[in-house]
Amino acid sequence: MTPALKVENLAKTFGVGGGLFGRPAAGVRAVRPMSFEVATGETLGIVGESGCGKSTLARMLVGLLDPTEGSIEIEGRALDNADPAAFGRLIQYMFQDPVSSLNPRKTIKQIMEAPLKRLYGMGRTERDTRIDEIFDSVNLRSEFLDRYPHEFSGGQAQRIGVARALAAAPRIIILDEPVSALDVSVQAQVLNLLRDLKTEFNLTYLFISHDLAVVEAVSDRIVVLYFGAVVEIGKAEEIFARPRHPYTKLLADSAPVVGRPLKAPEQKDSELPDPLNPPPGCAFATRCPRATEICREKEPMLEPHGGDQFAACFHPLE
């Protein structure tokens, strides 16, 4: 079966510095060449610390950023020129900040109509029925349509965000921290809705979050990113329970858990690598308790370590 999404050697380097007309003086490798596949109907979780390239990756996948190299295939069709309109019918993005992603000067109806008009050229009556259907699916009342974004709570605004993404009838939705701006008691309302919609519309999700427990609860497989590269991929129920990569273990040990005593899980002076001046070899070596000579010389490749689990490490954990 063709995967819903196939990414090959996708990479992004941002130029920094450089004068008015000069070439950029240096490059930040926000995303290093990475390849992965997502099967239709799957939820792929993406975790990693801030600055590890999660958002850059997501923005390339929807065409908001031009990749520096590599290719993106959606259901077997290559999409390589950054044109959000071409991407829009296949893949949509749900934003982290429910308020900032809705234009404060537009009514919900105007916001909902844009993708129907621009991507599908629908007429007025057709649009109205479609919006009603979508609002039904996400449990929003249609009298909300004439209101402005500031009149909604975070949870409601986030549902409107879901509704807008659905309006484009995409095959894949990228959920970038969809619940991190919400209260714990309403987070699950949105997560459960997303789960139901996935079955109803046969969607594929990429779920980006820094909350490991939430990602684990909703994903089938999880990708762990560090410093712009995939360091581990595996099944959701395995990856944090039996991490192979020392960084995944560090993440799992750092999450505050009721009943576990407080201790800093790594040395206090450990330093993050400098993106402008990346170290040779494994980017995690400066923080890694298992690092040896070879780690500082060669870059480890992603290799299978039992079952579906892949890790990029010379000395993986058992």
């Binding site: 908001l64 992603s101 234009n103 621009r118 089938d220 505050p256 790594e266």
Partner: protein, 622 residues
């Protein structure tokens, strides 16, 4: 409507509007007024004084009727000024939006060009343009518009840059909109009010500038009258026949004054910061207006909050953000306050040192005692002395405490020198020590960094270092790790824990994360709708939650290690504190609610160490 009401609440703006309206009506009525021809010369009637026969305002040096010239001149000056403002606003805003939206090289090139324009003195530039184009009203108009373009371009670009980074612009692109449509339908409506504000505050000056060019003979050419040329022609008779200069002078004064007063009013009325009804600046200390008795000191803890009430009064609504909250914390102890957004955690924390923005915030009852002294009654001087020195804060967003334009080292030194008279060298040494104590590597070189050059985790450590700068006894940490990554969070929590053990700090730790509470806090208070609904030791609360809200909230928190699963939610939304139901605020979402829950007040009952506010608690508390 709202806008007009706000506008006319400002007396001066209303006055400006009336004066301007009268002037506008007069010049619009020119065709129907019985005016003489403004350009007919009759030298026999030179310099007639005002109120002479047939010439209400007298005549000028060529015997032309001054009233007619004044009204015609006013009409021309207004038209030219407004037209120049429209041109400057249109071109300037277009340039600003394009530069701000596309950013990068386009922005760079455009803004350097604008900088170059601004490098010339204003009036010199206008003179140069007129000199190049030749004198004439049209050219004066072009010159005045041109010199005002940079003002609009810069203002609008600034706003656009902020907007262009907002996610709704990305969302519009994903909806299939092109750049042109995004600029017109997404950006423009959001910058329109800024354009109007910029225009209303500059049009007066533009009228003045055109008059200036005409005065120098570079604008309107004889015999055509505008206010500037009238003044210019009257200059030679300034002493002998002052009325020929005074009359157009007064008119210019009236126009510019009324437009500027109105413009300021428009700006204030459109400015959202002033919308909420707060037309005054926030005060240095929260207003305290206690209705009831001040509770007597009960001697608990180092910091002791007794029945604290803090409210926000916004137009006719009262938001009861903190409602009868009592808390205390001892030396070396960590007290957790847990609750969802809007539950009043932060306002409780800010009330302690009088940091709640006022207006609209008012402390309406209770006491905050530090070593027994009531801080609410303390004068501002004593409060300021204690801020940072005795009680320090750490906020969620370290950028809100760090100034973006100063090096972190300088900011730390300043924090130290506010309370201690030490030399710069000593302060610097202390700043380095502080950064080392919060485990920032390379502290000596890091003090030269600006906040934006540090990662989020580093900045938060600087925030903690600032809080520690004066060796406080109490630290109030408001979600200090919420914006951070788990690995950094773990380090910061461990750091705070060490600090309280080593230095005997009392910590009030505000969070919504039970995992964090479990690891760091000795005691916990759970807040909901501005009230404490449950309190007790951390183990009691986590192992035996008694309030239904606490229990259900804990069920909502996903824990690592459970694999793929459905998560629990509490139906409904947290209550608005401006519209609390009678009885238990949780009743609409509680599955154990009965009739009694929706009636009167429910008291916090139990002992000093373990209490719950519920009539059907999950567990009987000991």
């Amino acid at each position: 409507m709202m806008f007009l009401r706000l506008l006319f609440r400002n007396r001066l703006a209303a006055m400006g509007a009336i004066v301007l309206a009268i002037i506008l009506i007069l010049v619009l009525a020119i065709p129907i007024l019985p005016l003489q021809d403004p350009d007919v010369i009759k030298t026999s009637d030179r310099f007639l004084k005002p109120f002479s026969d047939g010439h209400l305002l007298g005549t000028d040096h060529l015997g032309r009727d001054l009233l007619a010239r004044l009204l015609h001149g006013t009409r021309l000056s207004l038209a030219v000024g407004i037209f120049a403002a429209l041109i400057a606003a249109t071109i300037g805003s277009a340039v600003g939006i394009v530069a701000g939206y596309f950013g990068g090289r386009i922005d760079n090139v455009i803004m350097r060009g604008i900088d170059m324009l601004m490098a010339f003195p204003y009036i010199l530039l206008a003179l140069a343009i007129v000199a190049a184009l030749g004198p004439g009203l049209m050219n004066a108009l072009i010159a005045v518009a041109a010199v005002n373009i940079p003002f609009f371009a810069r203002n609008i670009r600034g706003i656009t840059v902020g907007l262009a980074g907002r996610e709704f612009i990305d969302a519009a692109r994903l909806s299939g909109m092109g750049h042109g449509r995004i600029i017109l339908t997404e950006l423009l409506p959001n910058v329109l009010s800024t354009i109007v504000i910029a225009m209303s505050t500059t049009v007066g000056w533009m009228i003045l500038e055109t008059a200036g060019l005409s005065f120098l003979g570079l604008g309107s050419q004889p015999p055509q009258a505008d206010l500037g040329s009238m003044l210019g022609e009257a200059r030679s008779a300034l002493i002998t026949n002052p009325h020929t200069s005074i009359i157009p002078g007064i008119m210019i004064f009236l126009i510019v004054m009324s437009i500027n007063l109105l413009g300021d009013g428009v700006r204030d009325a459109l400015d959202p910061r002033l919308r909420s009804g707060a037309l005054s600046r926030p005060r240095a200390k929260t207003i305290v207006d206690r209705k009831g008795e001040v509770p007597a000191d009960d001697g608990k803890g180092l910091l002791n909050l007794q029945s604290l009430d803090t409210q926000f009064h916004v137009s006719n609504r009262v938001y009861r953000a903190v409602n009868d909250v009592s808390l205390f914390v001892n030396r070396g102890e960590c007290l957790g306050i847990i609750g969802e957004s809007g539950s009043g955690k932060s306002v409780t924390a800010l009330s302690v040192m009088g940091l709640v923005a006022s207006p609209p915030g008012v402390v309406t009852g209770g006491a905050v005692r530090y070593e027994g002294e009531d801080l609410l009654a303390a004068p501002y001087e004593s409060l300021r002395e204690k801020r940072g020195n005795k009680v320090a804060y750490i906020f969620q967003d370290p950028l809100s405490t760090l100034h973006p334009l100063y090096r972190v080292g300088d900011q730390l030194m300043e924090a130290i020198q506010v309370h201690h008279k030490v030399t710069d060298a000593e302060a610097k040494q202390r700043a380095i020590e502080l950064l080392m104590s919060v485990r920032i590597p390379n502290a000596e070189s890091r003090i030269r960094n600006y906040p934006h050059e540090m990662s989020g985790g580093m900045r938060q450590r600087v925030g903690i270092a600032m809080a520690l700068a004066n060796d406080p006894d109490v630290i109030i940490a408001d979600e200090p790790t919420t914006a951070l990554d788990v690995t950094v969070q773990a380090q910061i929590l461990a750091l705070l824990d060490d600090l309280r053990r080593e230095r005997g700090l009392a910590i009030v730790f505000i969070t919504h994360d039970f995992g964090v509470v479990a690891q760091l806090c000795d005691r916990v208070a759970v807040m909901y709708g501005g009230r404490i609904v449950e309190e007790g030791t951390t183990t009691d609360i986590l192992d035996h939650p008694a309030h239904p809200y606490t229990k259900r909230l804990m069920d909502c928190v996903p824990e690592l290690g459970g694999g793929k699963r459905a998560l629990a939610a509490i139906p409904g939304l947290p209550p608005m504190v401006s519209d609390l139901p009678p009885g238990c605020a949780f009743a609409p979402r509680c599955d154990k609610a009965t009739e009694a829950c929706r009636k009167g007040e429910i008291a916090l009952s139990g002992s000093e160490t373990r209490a719950v506010r519920c009539i059907h608690p999950e567990e009987e508390i000991a």
